[in-house]
Structure formats: structure tokens, C-alpha cells
């Protein structure tokens, strides 16, 4: 029952906020997020049996939830942590508390549901649950050209979902069951299914060339939405490729491996060169795709661990960047790097925290992303003998390493322009972060540090 509680707590909180508590919305949301962390930890420590409810007998579909597999556990932890940080982040406009907090909790419930479902239908459906709140939040409370951005994002995500649905149905028709615990390689049409899955999941993860929705969406979305979406929900596509794609169509994935490598290099190098902060999330997806490519290529569990660790680390670090970027915007009124400067003078702790997450996303040793990235690069060479010569995977890995340099350049450049030098008019009267504003960033920063020093904290679930 604990697994069911993980989904019910946020959903009940949504209902409570909608019908009773505009005034207490923040408290209810906070309570739900904290309760969910407690339930998740309880479920992991004392263990809990799965939950299963038959919702349709022909075809046989069950609301089946379980936290038995390691990758689900890691994703669950990521979800509950980022949810708590997201609820604490951002500044809700007056009178919009209901929309603000219900949307955040709905996105969270959708993500958690998708990660702990063991039925293909609910795996897909829970992810979709997050579509409408994202659409509404960007469209109503977003920044800049919000309506256009909300449309574009929704069209892209709906497109990805429909393609994905087609792929999943082809799988179901061959396996004859929606049960994710019984996935096995299908007999025919592997290549077609794999292509559908790569496009479908890929669009949701902003794989090149379906990436152009991501940067504007995150730039426009209110902080909790961009944190939850980039940090947690986006991992759904990667999770799906690992637990469904690799399990069901290994040969098909291998068939499209060269294509996948080219696309992910486009993510890393081409999109990375665009030098926008919003694109950093798109770019880092490339590394995780590289780990998935390695998994497909050499089938090592090491590559899988690398992918999952990096997914976790990236989720935490991107959520922290969006949380802090939102604070910068709230204090200075802009995120245009050229209009900022010298912010460190008046807001030293903001500068420190932003520096910390910047270093993490560059891959500084001692922070979680480093552990993930180094494992990804190693996994590219897993089982490789120098006598074999360089295969496509190895070449792609070598090129991808240059992405680290690119991200170092733009991250340091951004940091210098925003925080160092003389103060400009926008940053003269800025005050430092208040205690409440620091809490979510510190929470996320601590986790980056702990996992960076002791990656086993996450990897232990994957053995």
C-alpha cells in the first residue's frame, strides 16, 4: 500500500488545495511533498509489497505499482526530492496559489506514477497526466512569449506521446500483455518499434532534432515547473528507453545505434554551441543517450548504472540551476546575461550556490555529475580491446568528451558575466537570498555533494 500512497498523497493534496485551501495551499503542498519523502524512505527501508488492481479484464490492464527495480527506486528518490525543492522554490503570484501548487503536485504525481508503474498503460498514462498542468502553467504564468511557448511545447510533447503510444501498442500486440515485469524481446518488427520508441521517447527528452521546444519552455515556465519538468519528468524518456526499449527491442536499438550516436552528438556539440543556459539541459541529455548507446552496444550493467547515476545527478543539478536562475530573475528582473554583472557583491550566497551548481554541471570531481559523466565515458570503452580499433561508439565517446569543454566555457562565461566585475544598474540594490530562498538550493546542493563524494549511495540500488 505504501506504493499507492506515493501517488495518492500528491493527488489528495491537489484535491484539498482545489476545494478548500487557497490560503493554505503552500502548507498543504509542502506537507504532501515532505510526507512523500517520508513514505519513499519508509518504502525503501522497511520494504513494501507491490500494489495491483485490475482495471480492465480484456485486454488485461492493472494499476500495478512496485518499487522493486533499482532504476525505479533511484527515479523515485529523484522525484520526491525535486518535488520538495520545487514546492519551496519560486514566488507564486498573488491569487494564483491554487494553480501554482496543484500544477506542481500533479506533475510530481505523474512523474512518480510513471516511474513506479509496472504496467505499460499506466507507465504511459501517468506521464501524460503532467501534460495539462505544464501547458496551463506556462500559458498562464510563464515569462515572455508564454502562449506561443506553451503551444509549441504541448504540440511537441503530444506528438512524442502519440508516436510512443504507437510503439508501445506494437509491443503489446506482440507480447500480448501490458505487464512490464514480463517484457522480453519481441520476435518481429524490432526495427520499426525501436524507431518509434527512439522518436517518441526522444522527443520527450529533447533528442535532436526534436529538441527545440525545451529551451524556450524552460526559459518561460515558472520555476517549479521547469525544475520538475527538466529535473524529473524529462527522465521518463530515458527511463523508458532503458526499461522498455532495451528490454523489448535490443536488436532494433542496435540497428539504429549509428543514428542514435549521430543525434546525440548533435545534442552535445551542435546544441551545446548555442551557448544558452536553457540548452544546457538539452545538451546533457546527450551524455545520457551516450550511456544508453553503450548499454545497447555492449550490454554492460556498468553502462546502465552510469546512465541512471547521471540521470539522478542531472535531475538534481538542473533543478537547482532553475531554482537559482529564477531567484536571479526575481531580484534583477532579467536573465539576459549582458544586462547583468557584479551580482556577487550584493548576493554572495547566491553566487556561491550558483557557482556550486555550475561546477557540478561542468563535471567538477566531488560533485554528483562528475561521477555520472566519468562512468558514462568509461562505459563507452567497456569491454573494448585496443586491438579492435575504434568503433562508432568509441569515436562518439571521444567527440562527446569535447562537450565537457564546451559546457565549461559557457558556464564559466555566464558565471563571470553575471556575478563578477562591477555592479550595473540592475544589480546595485539587490539583496541576498533570504533563509526561505536558500533552503531548496541548499537541499539540492547537499545532495549533489553527498552523491558526488559517495556515489555508492545511489549505485547500491542498481547492483
Amino acid at each position: 500500500m505504501l506504493t499507492l500512497a506515493l501517488i495518492l498523497i500528491p493527488l489528495l493534496a491537489v484535491a484539498a488545495i482545489f476545494f478548500f485551501g487557497a490560503a493554505n495551499a503552500r502548507k498543504i503542498a509542502l506537507g504532501a511533498a515532505a510526507a512523500n519523502i517520508a513514505v519513499a524512505i519508509a518504502a525503501l527501508t522497511v520494504g513494501c509489497s507491490g500494489f495491483s488492481l485490475n482495471v480492465l479484464s480484456d485486454p488485461n490492464i492493472n494499476l500495478a505499482l512496485s518499487v522493486d527495480s533499482g532504476i525505479s527506486i533511484v527515479m523515485l528518490l529523484l522525484s520526491v526530492i525535486v518535488t520538495l525543492a520545487a514546492v519551496l522554490s519560486g514566488s507564486c503570484p498573488e491569487g494564483r496559489e491554487k494553480l501554482w501548487f496543484t500544477s506542481s503536485l500533479l506533475i510530481s504525481a505523474g512523474a512518480i506514477g510513471a516511474f513506479i508503474s509496472t504496467d505499460l498503460f499506466f507507465f504511459f498514462a501517468f506521464h501524460e497526466l503532467a501534460l495539462i498542468p505544464t501547458f496551463l502553467m506556462i500559458g498562464i504564468l510563464g515569462r515572455g512569449d508564454r502562449k506561443e511557448v506553451a503551444w509549441k511545447t504541448t504540440v511537441y510533447l503530444a506528438f512524442g506521446s502519440i508516436v510512443l503510444l504507437a510503439g508501445l501498442l506494437m509491443i503489446v500486440n506482440q507480447l500480448g500483455s501490458f505487464d512490464m515485469t514480463q517484457l522480453k524481446p519481441v520476435e518481429s518488427h524490432q526495427n520499426e518499434i525501436a524507431l518509434l520508441l527512439i522518436i517518441g521517447f526522444g522527443t520527450l527528452v529533447s533528442l535532436f532534432p526534436f529538441h527545440s521546444w525545451a529551451a524556450p519552455a524552460y526559459a518561460s515556465a515558472p520555476a517549479p515547473v521547469s525544475m520538475l519538468h527538466a529535473g524529473v519528468l524529462k527522465k521518463f524518456g530515458l527511463y523508458g528507453l532503458i526499461v522498455v526499449g532495451y528490454e523489448v527491442v535490443p536488436d532494433g536499438m542496435a540497428h539504429w545505434l549509428p543514428l542514435l550516436l549521430v543525434l546525440l552528438l548533435c545534442n552535445i556539440i551542435w546544441v551545446g554551441l548555442d551557448l544558452m543556459l536553457g540548452n544546457s539541459s538539452v545538451m546533457h541529455m546527450g551524455y545520457i543517450f551516450l550511456a544508453i548507446a553503450a548499454l545497447v552496444d555492449n550490454g554492460s550493467s556498468f553502462a546502465m548504472q552510469a546512465a541512471v547515476l547521471l540521470m539522478f545527478a542531472h535531475g538534481i543539478s538542473i533543478a537547482m540551476s532553475f531554482c537559482l536562475a529564477d531567484r536571479i530573475e526575481a531580484k534583477t528582473g532579467t536573465l539576459e546575461i549582458n544586462q547583468l554583472g557584479g551580482l556577487a557583491k550584493n548576493a554572495p550566497s547566491l553566487a556561491f550556490l550558483f557557482g556550486l551548481v555550475g561546477m557540478a554541471s561542468i563535471g567538477l570531481p566531488g560533485l554528483a555529475n562528475f561521477a555520472g559523466e566519468i562512468m558514462v565515458f568509461f562505459s563507452g570503452f567497456e569491454g573494448w580491446e585496443p586491438a579492435d580499433g575504434l568503433g562508432p561508439l568509441q569515436i562518439a565517446t571521444i567527440i562527446a568528451i569535447w562537450g565537457v569543454v564546451i559546457s565549461a566555457v559557457y558556464m564559466l562565461r555566464a558565471f563571470r558575466n553575471i556575478f563578477q566585475g562591477e555592479t550595473v544598474s540592475r544589480t546595485e540594490k539587490v539583496t541576498c537570498l533570504s533563509r526561505d530562498e536558500k533552503i531548496p538550493a541548499i537541499l539540492l546542493g547537499l545532495i549533489l555533494l553527498i552523491v558526488g563524494i559517495y556515489p555508492q549511495a545511489i549505485l547500491q540500488f542498481l547492483n
Partner: protein, 476 residues
Amino acid sequence: MQTYLLEFYVVGLGVIMLLWEAFASPKNKSKLALIGAGGLSIILAMLIFGRNCESWTAVPDWLSRFYTTGGNSLFFKSFALVSTILVLLMSYDFRSILNKYTSNDNTDSNTGEFYTLPIFACAGLMWMASATDLVSIFVSLELVTITFYVMVAYMRRNVGSLEAGVKYLILGALSTGFLVYGIAWLYGAVGTTDLSKIASMDLTNSYPLLFGLSLIIISLGFKVGAVPMQLWIPDVYQGAPTPITAFLSIASKAAGFGVALVILQPFLASDTVGGNVQLILIIMAAATLLYGNLSALAQTNFKRLLAYSSIAHAGFLLLALSVSDFQTIKFYLATYLIMTFAGFFILNLIRVQDNSDEIDGFDGLGKRNPRLALALTITMAAMAGVPLTAGFWGKLLVFKSIVGVLPWVVIVIAFVAAAAGFYYYFKVIRAIYWHKPANEKPLIIPCISKYAIIILTAAIIVVGVYPKAIECLIGG
């Protein structure tokens, strides 16, 4: 107590109400709608709880040639009853508009029949569900269609309603012609109008048979709103009184599919003719999906949007029909009833209060009435087919039965159609939350509409998460 008596009760109820209205001239005629709904509810309860009675499904000999209580008939009977009850309740809340367009002085003096006609249509729909012979199908179908001619044109001081009535009459007559002519050819080809006999025959793939069948399929296409007989739908839906639009869009369409199941079942199952019938249905389905979804993209009027949406849904249903997945059709129709009625109840409300059918009428609904806005958001999401709403299951089951069975072109069209749906249904959601309200006047939600909307919206979510609820209702 037997099932076949239910139709008699329904007709009896209608006749009594009609006579009472004419001779006792009650003061408040809209109350007739409530009486009718109450009466039909009792009959629905008899249908539901009667199945424990002995000889419940027995049919007397004199009737058995034309009438069955087996197959899907009980499902379609309850479908007809539920939708008629909801239509009558909706009509009650629609009374102010109806009065305005039927009399000079805004009184209800000319509206009596409006509340009794749906009951006669209901009797026809129920009979259609049980008909097993082409002749009885034809007669019951005409009972429904002729009643609809009157109801569509009922607001006689409204040009739109009259125009809709004329269009419906002309095309309806044309389709009746197709049907009779088709039945004649079919009779010529197989020598009987009894569908159960046809089912046991070895059919030959002859031109007269296929020609007759094509004509019949075309005229059924008129009922369900499928290409090439879809042209009347937007205009008639827009012009007809809103409750009647809902009635047409839900009950009439469902009955059309009920009849299509009965007529086409023997032919689809046949080895010789099956392939050809399937081909016709697939082409119709693909054309219907494209027409409905692509035309809906540009609509600015909510009623027309729902009209095109109903064409689009017909396309999905035809796909399921083409692969003989009858269980899915019933499932789809049940979810369609829930979400479409929710949509029409809300539209009805806005129409009565703001006198607008446009999507603009929903501007700023999120501010004016957040709970109604939530209900409409859920309804639109369900129609678009967002998972965990009732609407998704129908589409999922259709996709599941066609993927890998039908040619990939058709499957791609179906997926493109589903994706296009997101665009135009989300346009409504966008109007609700993104636009500023045109007037700040708070909406007053009448009691019946309020509870109907609450129940239907809750049902959308419950079925979305737990579709077994529907599965139990429609029977395995």
C-alpha cells in the same frame, strides 16, 4: 414482466404525456421534461433490475421474427434510455431559450411537445436496438428520424433552427431512399430480409449484394455522421436546440452503430463478402477521420467544434467496426456518452446565460467560475484522449485492435487524427484560462445542470482510472 414490453411502456408514457399536455394544459410545461425523465428512469430501473425475473428475455412468437433481446440489444436499449433522460433534463434548463423562439411573449405556451418528442424517439431507438429484420430496422429508424425532423426545427422563430430542419429533412429523406433501395437490392440478392437467416447462408460475392450493402452502409453513414454523408452535421448541430444536438450526437449516433453492428455482422463474418465490406468501412473511416479532425482545426464555434468532433469520433468507431471489434464499439460509445453529455451540459449553460455558442464564450471561464472551468477542462481533455480520462480508453482499445491488422496508412491516419484532436480541444482550454473574460457576470448554474455536470465529470475520471466500471456495465 418481459423486456419487449419496455418499448410499449415508453410509447405509453409518451402518449399519456402528450394527451395530458393537450387536454389538461398544465401551467408549467417545462415540468413535463422532469416527469418524462422520471418515467424513463423507472423504465431504466426495470431494465436494469429486471434481469433477475424469469423469462426476462423471452419474446412472444408473433414478435420473434422482428425482434430479439439477445446480442447487444440490452446495452443499446439502456444507452437510449440514459441519453434520453439526460436530454430531457438538459431541455429543462434550456427552457428560456426555447420559450424565446417559440412564442411572441416568451411564455412556454408552444413548447409542450418538445418535452414529449424525445420519449417517442427513445422508443424508436430502443426498438432499433432489438430489430433483427431489415424491415423492422427500417421502420424503427424512420420513427427516430421523423421525430428528429420535428425536434431539430422546433425553435420556429429562429432562422438557424429552421435551416437546420430543412437540411436535415432533405438529407434524411435522401438517406432513407438509399436505405430502402439498398434493402431492395439485398433482398433481391439473398432472398430474405431476416438477418439471422442471412448469417447462416453461404454468401456469394455478387454485385447486386455488394451494391445493396454499399447503399445500406451509406445510409447508415448518414445516421452516424460518416463521410460521404457527413455534410449535414455541422449546420444541423449548430442550428438545432442544444439538447437536441446532444441527442443527435449521442443517442442517434449510437443507435446508428447499433444497427450497423446488427446488419454488418453476418457480412463481416463471411469469408466471401467480408473483405469487401471491410474495405468499404476502412475507406470511410479514414476519410471520416481526416475530414472530421482537419475541419475541426479551424472552428471558432463550440457547437460546430463538437459537430466535427462527433464526425471524428465516428471515424474511430468505424475503424473498430471494420475489424469487427464490437466490444470496443460499445466501450467507446459508453465513454463517448459521458464526455459528450458533459460538454453539452456546459455549452447549454453558457448558451442560456450568455447567449453564445462561440469558443470565445468560454473566455476567462477560469476566473468567472473555476469549478465549471475545471469540469470543462476535464471534459476537453477526455475528448482529446488524455490518458487517465474516459476518452483515452476508447481510443486505446481502437488503436490496440487495429495496430498490426489494418494497413499502416490507415493506422498513421488514425494517429494523426488523434494528435490533431489535441490541437482543437486544447484551444477551448486555452480560451478558458488564457483569455480575459468578455463579461464578469458570474454564472449561475441551475441545480440540474450542476449535478449532471458533477456526476458526468466524476464519471470521466473514475472510468479513466478504473475502466472496469464500464466493462461491468456493458457486459463481457
